[in-house]
Amino acid sequence: MSDPVKTAPVPERVDGTTVLEAEPKGRTGWARVLLGRDAVMIYALIVVIVIAMIAVPRFASPVTTGFLLLDVIPVLLIAMPMTLVIITGEIDLSVASIAGLTSAIMGVLWQAGFDIGIVLVISVLAGVVAGAVNGFLVAVVGLPSLAVTIGTLALFRGLALVVIGDNAVANFPPELTAFFTSKLGATGIPTVMVGVVVVILFFGVLLHLTPFGRGLYALGYSQEAARFVGIKVARAKLWLFVGTGTVSALAGVYWTLRYSSARSDNASGLELAVIAAVLLGGVSIFGGKGSIPGVVAAVLLIGVINYALRLGRVSDVVLIIVTGSLLIASVVAPSVFGAISKWRHDRRVHRELPQATTSGAASA
């Protein structure tokens, strides 16, 4: 307890309640943008890039940009709709299996001699249907998405096996596979990044600038409240799962053409990498919190660290420790900071309102 003599004068209001002058206000305006969670993520990304450019030989080159981006594109793509899904408090574990199923369908149709355009359209439609199955079970039937998508994770991967078995199809049109690894001039940026940026912008605008997107945050905080203010909960969730299915199919198409190989086990295990990146990007697993810029920065951060360490001859397999530690640190740190600021808040209340401790008003 602090000495009452040293207590600062507390302004008394008409109704007898007191105001704490020293209580920090929430950030507003530019401070909010520049000191927020997303900004910290972007600073971390810049710092890591600068350190890598200085410390790792051969990192600062267009070759790096190219391979780094080619590597992160599947995770980057799927992380976009996944962000929206997790913000509504749901999860989709079946994304990698949908990508695998798409890849298998592509391989079989191409081998059967269909035109490549038709092959691509049918493959992506398969993803739309797969996403709709998830969405139907979660949004319409009302089952928990964690359980449903564990089931469809097995189901879609199983269907991929049914479709293509243990074959691999590799003879895709060379001009198409070459396009998927080509670069934009001398910048080293892969040409397909144009499409990826379109996807990022689409989901960024959808989430942050449309009533539908803002409604998703409300939905993540409280489904009941969201329903009362007129958000169509079931329809929103159904569309989000269709979204993850569609984008996962695009990622499957990319995976197939980039490695020029259609196999049933393509992209397996990718779901956990995507979710790790999304959570690192500041999206709350409880829903209601998160943003697209933060997630993009997180995906790139993991990509840069992995690429730099690999260049620095750190063994590939050990790198997953980095992903794991980053993920845990990113969720434990806010909790620790939260505890510290609560402790400071409590101490301030005790110091400035010594009488409150006896009346029990500060216990809240």
């Binding site: 574990l93 079970l137 097995a154 096996l161 959570l279 397999v317 790198l319 845990i328 620790v336």
Partner: protein, 347 residues
């Protein structure tokens, strides 16, 4: 400690008296999955008598053993409304340590290896439990992180090294070959685990606490249950069982290395869910989880025995998981409706 807590006498449920033992059996969440298992085994045995030959049964049991132990541990954690995705990595790490102990320490006694495996599993589980209870971060996120970290440690330690059956004493490998009363020894161990944990969860006060915590963590806290300590112990127990499974894995399978047990976590969660353990906690039993695990492993063998194309197996497992969730949903909706009607009648 918990013994000082007082509970209102009304905690005993009056409506429980009205139900006969038979209807309790019929309403059990384990019933659909147990029936499915019986039907599956019967149909397969009729179509292919070799399926239930002594060797066939032994193979079925051996295949189920490890996943049963993991599913029991996972069920404890899921009942408290948490989840542990790191079990595959814990199993891998312990299995590799087992192989490495036998290969590098001359004449190490088998019980010592078991104890070391259990201890390592418990420590890894305790790390999960500490992070979840102290940092108050959802278990899904924490254990996804430790999934990667434990696997990374395993990779760093093992590198390209693998230990094979030749590196371990014959008596250790014999655990999963020898039978006692027709059961393989490691299966009997799993059975003991299921019964002990099952009785504990059904009868012991701290076991019942887990259900209360899973049904409503806030209410459990207000009621005075030591929520943090119970959840922590659930994770430690799960780690311990994953450690046991890791040691048995090294006995059962020919080689252990950097990737042992990877990807197992979702199978384990699926087994628990198929066995009627609700993914949002508060209901289900380890018996159900064990039967779910046996069903999932048996279906693979049954499809082979029925000469179903092996490529269909995983898709069928997926359909089975979805069916289990839907059946569970229908059952809980019906229970809720019945409760509403009986409550309305009492008023």
């Amino acid at each position: 400690m918990t013994t000082t807590e007082t509970r209102p006498p009304s905690a005993a449920q009056p409506e429980a008296k009205r139900n006969s033992p038979l209807s309790a059996v019929l309403r059990a969440r384990e019933l659909p999955v147990a029936l499915a298992l019986v039907i599956l085994v019967t149909v397969t045995a009729i179509a292919n008598p070799l399926f239930l030959s002594p060797q066939g049964v032994k193979d079925l049991l051996l295949n189920a053993t490890i996943i049963v132990i993991l599913a029991v541990g996972q069920a404890i954690v899921i009942i408290t409304r948490n989840v542990d995705l790191s079990v595959g990595s814990i199993l891998g790490l312990v299995a590799f340590m087992t192989g490495s102990l036998f290969a590098n320490v001359e004449g190490i006694p088998i019980p010592v290896v078991f104890l070391a495996g259990l201890a390592l599993g418990a420590v890894l589980g305790a790390i999960n439990g500490l992070l979840v209870t102290l940092a108050k971060v959802p278990a899904l996120v924490i254990t996804l992180g430790t999934l990667y970290i434990y696997r990374g440690v395993n990779n760093a330690w093992a590198g390209g090294t693998q230990y094979f059956a030749g590196d371990r004493p014959d008596a250790f490998g014999a655990l999963s070959v020898d039978t006692f009363l027709g059961f393989p020894v490691i299966t009997l161990l799993a059975l003991v685990v299921v019964v002990v944990v099952g009785v504990f969860l059904a009868g012991a006060r701290s076991g019942r606490d887990l259900y209360a915590i899973g049904s409503d963590p806030e209410a459990a806290r207000v009621f005075g249950l030591p929520v943090g300590r119970r959840v922590f112990l659930a994770f430690v127990t799960n780690g311990l069982l994953a450690g046991l499974a890791g040691v048995l894995y090294a006995s059962r399978f020919n080689s252990v290395g950097a990737t042992t047990g990877s990807g197992m976590e979702l199978d384990v969660v699926a087994a628990a869910v198929v066995g009627g353990v609700a993914i949002f906690g508060g209901s289900g039993s380890v018996f159900g989880a064990a039967i779910g695990a046996i069903l999932l492993t048996t279906i693979t063998s049954a499809l082979t025995a029925l000469r179903v194309d092996k490529f269909w197996q995983q898709a069928i497992v997926g359909v089975l998981i979805l069916a289990a969730i839907i059946i569970d949903r229908i059952a809980s909706v019906r229970t809720a409706r019945k409760l509403r009607i009986s409550e309305a009648r009492d008023v």
